[in-house]
């Protein structure tokens, strides 16, 4: 089967599967919003400072809040179909715009963290697999378990203490030097300096997972016939490890990386509050503190969509990498 057809098939299947999930999430989101204490009219009255019972009723009927729940659900779905997530009275702007403003920051942070985690994890995992059962393997495996047990916000604070306070090498928070007018390469370098610590604290947790996963799948591949053939051909051990074993061991890693997008978004909420990084996570934190549930649920909805998109992307990458997958 030609590769393009295979990918198209996978795409169709993934999209069909995603529809009920998206609907379920939207409906769940709506009911959570209903459960939240106070509605938009309460929030606006609170912001205004005072309101009579009549003006509250007027506000409610203006926003359709006095309709039956199912009618409101219809309105909510209709709004979503027009890409409207509601209005945030606190920020005085539509929630969708607010999220669009913060999304790039979180995405770059996550991309860097994922890259660090995969690179470091694969290196550690390959080392562990090459020394399987011996001292380096045991030591590294305890180390990776330690990484897995450290809360990201705590290691974030400790990195600040060490690298910003004691050594003074890296900034302790923010997203760029304020008032600097750098452009081009210096601007990127400046940005990178601010991203190193948050991305590292977000990545450490996942380093452990990738290291163990790489180790397990490399050990599994190691015993297969084509590896023995490669050795028999007289290839160097490093060549066999890098080109035959590792390459085949990478498929479960891409699967896991797709599954981790949701987890990383959650981790970003905490890490961004530690480093005051202007992303979705900080926005979520501010929304929690301000009890701004429209924003909070908008973030929840949008991040679930992001997870679905990431999973679809992984499926497609798989169909492209491995001909056996699309054929089903």
């Amino acid at each position: 089967m030609p590769a393009l057809l295979r990918i198209a098939r996978t795409l169709r299947r993934t999209l069909l599967q995603a529809i009920p999930t998206v609907l379920g999430i939207v409906i769940l989101n709506f009911f959570l919003l209903q459960l939240a204490p106070g509605d938009a009219a309460d929030v606006m009255a609170g912001e205004a400072g005072s309101a009579t019972a009549e003006s509250m009723a007027a506000l409610r009927s203006r926003f359709g809040l006095d309709n039956p729940v199912l009618v409101q659900l219809g309105h909510y779905l209709n709004n979503l179909a027009h890409f409207s997530l509601g209005f945030s009275p606190r920020y005085g702007m539509p929630v969708a715009d607010l999220i669009a403003q913060r999304l790039p920051g979180t995405l770059t942070l996550m991309a860097l963290a994922l890259t660090i985690a995969i690179l470091l994890g694969v290196v550690l995992g390959s080392l562990m697999a090459s020394f399987a059962g011996r001292i380096p393997d045991r030591l590294l495996s305890i180390f990776s378990l330690l990484f897995y047990s450290i809360p990201s916000f705590w290691i974030g604070l400790m990195l600040i203490v060490f690298f910003s306070v004691k050594l003074g090498w890296l900034p302790s928070g923010g997203a760029g030097t304020i008032g600097s007018r750098l452009t081009g390469v210096p601007a990127i370098l400046d940005k990178a300096r601010y991203m190193v610590l948050p991305a590292t604290s977000l990545a450490l947790f996942y380093v452990a997972i990738y290291a163990r996963l790489t180790r397990a799948s490399m050990l599994e591949v190691k015993n297969q016939d084509f590896v023995r053939t490669a050795y028999a051909k007289g290839l160097t051990p490093f060549g066999v490890t890098a080109r035959h074993i590792l390459r085949n061991a990478l498929i479960p890693i891409t699967t896991m990386a797709g599954m981790h997008i949701g987890g990383m978004l959650g981790g970003a909420v905490v890490v961004e509050t530690v480093y005051s990084w202007p992303g979705l996570g900080r926005l979520a934190f501010e929304a929690v503190m301000g009890r701004d549930f429209t924003v909070l649920l908008g973030i929840l909805l949008l991040s679930s969509l992001l997870v679905i998109i990431a999973n679809a992307a992984v499926d497609i990458i798989h169909a492209w990498l491995d001909p056996r997958i699309g054929a089903r």
Partner: protein
């Protein structure tokens, strides 16, 4: 912080194994030769594991007890549990009350071995009392999530058909929602308290268990002894709980120790963000209050964090030990 990534990974592996098992079992039945101890080919290994798939409790215990890491983990966990139980006896006063001069560094005053915070509260008393809420939330949330997850997963896996389709959709919805974001939303809506935090963590942790249980049940329900039970006229409930569940337990037990660890991490992250129970001292909230002073008094952040790291590490070491003991296929290469 993600919920149950290692849990996920393990359930993934278990799922893959579970689907592979019927074929492997058929292969064993066909071959039925002696179990070669030095077989290295992958198909031969799966045959071997199918032969020893019935977990021997005493053997598992022996493997677990001969693992120094797991023993260390168990020892440390027992120590933390003892601390949690005796904290009200050792420090009967409210750990949130001011007792001494503020900003005493650890070792400066022997009355407060770990120093005092910005309000003059004893750090050691806080850490000892903090273990109570961490363990409570971790254990209760896991128990709840485990119960619900096993119920859903066994129903889906045992009955199959449209019930299965429906429940799998439900599981998928919960696994798509980023768990920590959902957790924050739930706790923010329900107002933070020890109970709501526990319930919310249970809500986000059951899907992993449900998936794992479902995979195990689907594999086991085709086995001969289940068919025998069915032909004896046993009811569904009896087959599920007395026949299949005991055989599906090993991977669930392994996952549960990792679940306690993640629940503790989540609780600490929540209370760090100010979404914990405001009336009890917790490790996360101690870090949260120490955070503003991290430049000058970093010990206020470091010490409760170490308590979290070691407790969670102990639970993960136990989980690893259980995995080696209960899952013979994994322990072969070690």
């Amino acid at each position: 912080m993600s919920t149950t990534d290692v849990g996920n990974f393990r359930s993934l592996v278990a799922e893959r194994e579970a689907t592979a098992e019927p074929e492997a079992a058929a292969a064993t039945a066909a071959a039925n030769g002696p179990a070669w101890s030095n077989m290295k080919a992958p198909d031969a290994r799966s045959q071997q594991s199918a032969a020893v798939a019935v977990t021997n409790g005493r053997r598992a215990l022996k493997v677990f007890l001969s693992n120094p890491n797991a023993l260390f983990g168990t020892g440390f966990l027992v120590f933390v549990i003892l601390v949690a139980l005796t904290a009200p006896i050792l420090y009967p006063d409210d750990p949130l009350s001011m007792v001494g001069r503020p900003f005493l560094w650890p070792g400066q005053n022997s009355a407060y071995p770990l120093g005092t915070d910005s309000l003059g509260r004893d750090v050691l008393a806080g850490i000892l009392h903090g273990s109570r809420i961490s363990l409570f939330v971790g254990l209760m949330a896991t128990a709840l999530g485990l119960t619900f997850g096993v119920l859903v997963g066994s129903t889906a896996g045992y009955f199959g058909g449209w019930i299965d389709d429906l429940l799998v959709r439900l599981i998928e919805i919960f696994q798509t929602l980023p768990s920590f974001v959902l957790l924050v939303v739930l706790v923010a809506i329900a107002q933070p308290s020890a109970t709501t935090v526990t319930l919310a963590i249970a809500v986000i942790s059951w899907p992993t268990v449900a998936r794992l249980t479902r995979a195990e049940f689907r594999a086991i329900r085709e086995k001969d002894f289940v068919m025998a039970a069915r032909s004896l006229g046993y009811g569904h409930a009896r087959i599920i709980f007395r026949e299949i569940l005991p055989n599906a337990l090993p991977p669930i037990i392994v996952t549960s120790s990792v679940m306690v660890a993640t629940a503790i991490l989540m609780e600490s992250a929540l209370s760090f963000m100010g979404l914990g129970d405001p009336n009890v001292v917790s490790w996360g909230s101690m870090i949260g209050t120490g955070r503003e002073l991290v430049r000058t008094a970093w010990y206020l952040t470091a010490l409760p964090g170490l308590a979290i790291v070691f407790t969670v590490l102990a639970l993960n070491l136990i989980g690893d030990g259980l995995n080696d003991a209960l899952n013979p296929r994994f322990s072969q290469d070690r």
